[in-house]
Symmetry: C2
Subunit: 300 residues, 2 copies
């Protein structure tokens, strides 16, 4: 089974377990809407790619970790789209959850997805207590206070914000959780994998800022111009478009170079390269492609 199918299968399974006939129908539908169809599933794919690079000797645990990462990401999207935040009408090319189901069910759907993420990993505790303890701590760190994505979103409510601090929490935290959990699920130390998550998370956030000004809404599947409209910190407003693209390039190069030496490093590099092609509009990304080619031409 390829990685994408594996992720979709485990997400369908965990959602199916809680969306049975005894569940309130509207909330069950809202959960499904929040998770399917997915976006690029970049975080869980990164998680599984690291698990595979580390041997993937406990695939059920890696699946649980990857699913949890994606469920938490979906929860953050549902809540970020709410009228009090971005007031976004669309997400992944369909109505946002609050547009389709109303604001109350959107709040509850986010809550239920957070619970489901922890429930999914918790279900593995008896099989692998040591690894699960690491997974659960990493999930909490990546999502909660003071360094996780919830804290990242909260920095938008502060009067003064350090851009790096904000981006590390808002996006980097869940990327670092993805790489750490992939390694921990396969019984490896997390630490060598933290940098990869950090670089990729920051690169992804910078790319998101770039797409917010340089893409159209149809291509993006959600409204553009949101950072400016909401007065949010943005790499583009801080560095200009050219500066933001240069920053993205540096971050991607750091990410590719940070991959620890391991049997699966090649396929992981391939995944990251493929992703980066989607991350910023092609006409802005020439130097990145050049940097990538240079890296590809080096001896393995």
């Amino acid at each position: 089974m390829d990685t994408v199918r594996r992720i979709e299968a485990v997400l369908a399974e965990v959602l199916g377990e809680v969306n049975g006939p005894q569940a309130p129908r509207q909330l069950a539908a809202a959960l499904k809407h929040a998770v399917f169809p997915g976006g690029a599933r970049i975080r869980p794919r990164l998680c599984l790619a690291v698990a595979m690079a580390c041997g993937d000797d406990a695939p059920a645990l890696a699946n649980a970790g990857a699913a949890a990462i994606e469920l938490l990401h979906c929860a953050s999207l549902v809540h970020d789209d709410l009228p009090c935040f971005d007031d976004a009408d669309t997400r992944r090319g369909q109505p946002s959850v609050h547009k389709a189901f109303g604001e109350r069910l959107a709040v509850l759907a986010g809550d239920a997805l957070i619970v489901l993420a922890f429930q999914t990993v918790s279900a593995q505790v008896l099989h692998a207590p040591q690894r699960c303890a690491k997974l659960l701590a990493t999930l909490s760190h990546g999502v909660g206070m003071p360094f996780g994505i919830v804290a990242g979103q909260a920095w938008e409510c502060e009067s003064t914000v350090d851009l790096g601090h904000y981006q590390r929490a808002k996006t980097g935290a869940l990327f670092s959780a993805a790489t750490s959990i992939g390694a921990a699920a396969a019984g490896h130390a997390c630490e060598p994998w933290l940098d990869l998550g950090r670089w990729l998370g920051e690169a992804y956030q910078v790319a998101d800022d770039i797409r917010d000004v340089a893409s159209d809404a149809l291509e993006l599947g959600k409204p553009t111009g949101q950072d400016l409209a909401h007065g949010r910190p943005s790499a583009v407003s801080a560095l200009g478009l050219g500066g933001a693209v240069a920053r993205f390039e540096r971050l991607m190069t750091h990410a590719l170079e940070s991959i620890p030496d391991c049997p699966g490093s090649r396929s992981l590099q391939a995944l990251i390269r493929a992703e980066s092609r989607r991350l910023i509009p092609t006409h802005l990304a020439r130097p990145v492609h050049a940097a990538r080619r240079e890296l590809e031409s080096r001896p393995a």
Copy 2:
């Protein structure tokens, strides 16, 4: 240390760990506001009372379980008070979180509290994997889909609702989690304790419906008349005030009678009796007091 101090101490400790100097200040303040000063702390006190009745041989685990229960309860209050739900200006006699900090920080505070609840129990996994697995599963069941408090809240969005089903999920689920977690933290089977949580949870919800029409806002610390104003299912609208009081009495009697035989049963009964005195306005509760006296006069 008495139970209330024990709960306040552990809540202060877990909140202190995530509300350090590196946390976004507004969200840190919102979390503190959501948790302190507390209400009656009925759920964590119930949890600890059951743990003590079962020997309390792992107090750190019982503390973590009790704190998690209360954090999840606080999260549900913060989200339930949001403009899209109850739009409540006050809670526990002070401004609700969204009134004090704005809607965005209220959404994030609820999210962060859910994460913190799971994080608090997860931190004990390595010390007691078997018991923690049970605690984590029970927490998820009590909060998530399809039977937990999030599902309970979602039943308010459905066009047809079974009142018992709704109340079991909205309130009973977290009470059952409290009794189950108390027992599991002390290494006892949960099952004999489930009924106590169920009866108390349903009684508490019925009492809440009664107070919503029969108390004044100052006494209650939050707005009254909310069920009617929001067209919510309510024991009073379904059964009338007299019928709701009669139901409350039956449920409290069932609860007191369901307590398993154990060394701590007496103090547990005392806690429950003390709580029930606060649950509904005194002028409505004569028959309950009479039932209580009758139970107290029985041989132990």
